[in-house]
Point group: C2
Chain length 346, copies 2
């Protein structure tokens, strides 16, 4: 079941004629800070996660690494949920590389980006920031000729930290409000990194974004600014930061946008997406998923606060539900895919 | 008016519900051979032409060079005709970089290709060739979820020479049958280069393609092999070589394909697309354009055999006509765009 938290957007999904699933990938050096993210078995491996997620989404297998991305505990990437959910739809999957250190070995759209640095120093230079916005806007404009709805997901390790930095830098109250793929959100570390990053902040918007934002957020904002139809931002608290950037450039645009996420993000006691979405002024819906009856422990742990969201898993589940799939259909498909992965691994 | 020469394909265009215009760009070092191509003001500048064509198509202006690509005589790129024609349609323009030395400063789809070398030595290594085919096939598959027709154009200087080499290498009689953007087709030079390239040819198909083909031909073939609907190959004699590569991998696929070109290619006395299309077994249609009443000399010279085709100009004109535009509408739009260019230049 799809649930509406803020605003009303579900009707737009039901009446949409033609939409793609876009995955925007990027990396920053923030994910190399030990303990800040579990989106990879080690800090170094986090730079492979977005490319591997993109490959799994499109191909059903990874090429840049041997298996699917896992947490240090061995829990698989939410790309599994995304791919399983999208099997109930007939959508074109488009991968946009906004700036990933490792490139996926599948076709992808290049928007002239670069990987982000460590935001305690600088994420991106102004020229790259401007180029990502312009090219992504152009991409959004072109896609308007084919589609009336875009569903945009993301994969970027440590993306909640850059999201917190952007939100705080743009004047929102975001400290301790962003989510984490771990049940024990490393809030103190994130806060420390963000407060460091906020020192010596440029006063103009573009300067703030270049200093604090990751390339994914900038590209998602650009695509949305250029697109003429409705947009479902498929992600958790990070997408409130994308919406905040969109608002800086075109406040009216927020009317056409909702964040589509999972139950685990909305119900999370260690973060507060409802507060963030309210502050920014963007609609919020979620897929009321329940993985407690999965055959696999690595999937059942979603109910304990592991993973929660990522690679547009919530938005993809929402699409599956719009196309008639029930929670048990999605769970069965996720289980089947996970079983296949375990077989091919052995 | 759209005219059918071989097979019957026009009905597929009329019934198609949703299609993009895809421009596949690449370069090879064949274009550096003095006198072999006029697709650039000098041999060195030919490497900028595909990126500049892509930019003009999407943006209406070029970024990698100051003005639009021109011949050494100052005649502008056929991208002008393509952009003017597509203004009568509502299509998404997608640029695929199959291997261009200069990258366009707009969003493009990367299929993991590389620029081709000089075919007298070697165009591409086997690994790159395989990667371009696989990634392009995957792209074609994904696009099947959105579109029921693809229109695929090209921009690659000296592409008719690599096309002749591929056709001849795959067993067709192509010597002196490929076209040229110049009214005085440099046939002797092309023949010499091709005959040199055909020496020490590997015996297997992939080896032949790697040695002789440019990245554009390989990518166009791959996209077509992966796509599940109808395909209009928007180009001149080069597209018979793309069709020949498609045939090597899947002969049945040719039933879904037609080449869509211009009157100037079909009526050209210095080349023979009808013979090539017949030999390969692919349908052929053309836009019966007449530029004799253009306000600009650089456009009227199409009637004297200059330019003829390129950047999918023929296929784009066909689309304009399917959407109700008449020859005079297209000429007026081309003239207006050319006038704007001349104003912005001064």
């Amino acid at each position: 079941m799809i649930k509406e938290v803020l605003g009303s957007f579900i009707e737009n999904l039901k009446t949409a004629k033609n939409y793609p699933f876009i995955l925007v990938i990027a990396t920053t050096d923030v994910s190399l800070i030990p303990g800040i993210t579990v989106a990879g078995a080690s800090p170094e491996l986090t730079h492979f996660t977005p490319a591997a997620d993109a490959e799994f989404l499109v191909l059903g297998k990874c090429k840049v690494i041997n298996t699917v991305p896992i947490t240090p505990d061995g829990i698989p990437t939410p790309a599994l949920v995304t791919r399983a959910s999208l099997s109930f739809t007939k959508v074109t999957k488009l991968v946009v590389n906004a700036g990933s250190k490792i490139l996926p070995k599948i076709p992808f759209i290049d928007v002239g980006g670069k990987p982000g640095g460590d935001i305690r120093k600088y994420s991106l230079d102004l020229e790259t920031t401007q180029r990502i916005i312009e090219n992504s806007t152009l991409l959004g404009e072109e896609l308007s000729n084919t589609y009336d709805l875009l569903v945009i997901g993301e994969s970027i390790p440590a993306g909640t930290t850059t999201a917190m930095a952007v939100l705080q830098g743009l004047g929102y109250n975001a400290i301790d409000k962003v989510s984490s793929a771990s049940p024990t959100n490393p809030k103190e570390l994130k806060r420390k990194v963000v407060l460091d990053a906020l020192k010596n902040l440029p006063s103009n918007t573009l300067g703030k974004i270049a200093k604090l934002a990751d390339p994914m957020l900038i590209s998602v904002a650009g695509i949305s600014l250029g697109f003429k139809g409705k947009i479902l931002l498929a992600g958790g608290t990070q997408m409130t930061a994308a919406a905040a950037i969109i608002k800086e450039f075109n406040k009216e645009k927020l009317k056409d946008i909702a964040i589509g996420t999972t139950k685990w993000i909305v119900k999370d006691r260690c973060s507060d997406i409802i507060s963030l979405a309210k502050q920014v002024g963007v609609s919020l819906i979620y897929a009321d998923l329940d993985f407690s009856k999965s055959k696999h422990k690595g999937i059942r742990v979603y109910e304990e606060g592991y993973v929660k969201e990522g690679v547009g898993a919530g938005g993809a589940s929402i699409l599956a539900m719009v196309n008639g799939a029930k929670n048990e259909d999605i769970v069965r498909k996720v289980d089947d895919m996970y079983s296949e992965l375990l077989i091919s691994k052995n």
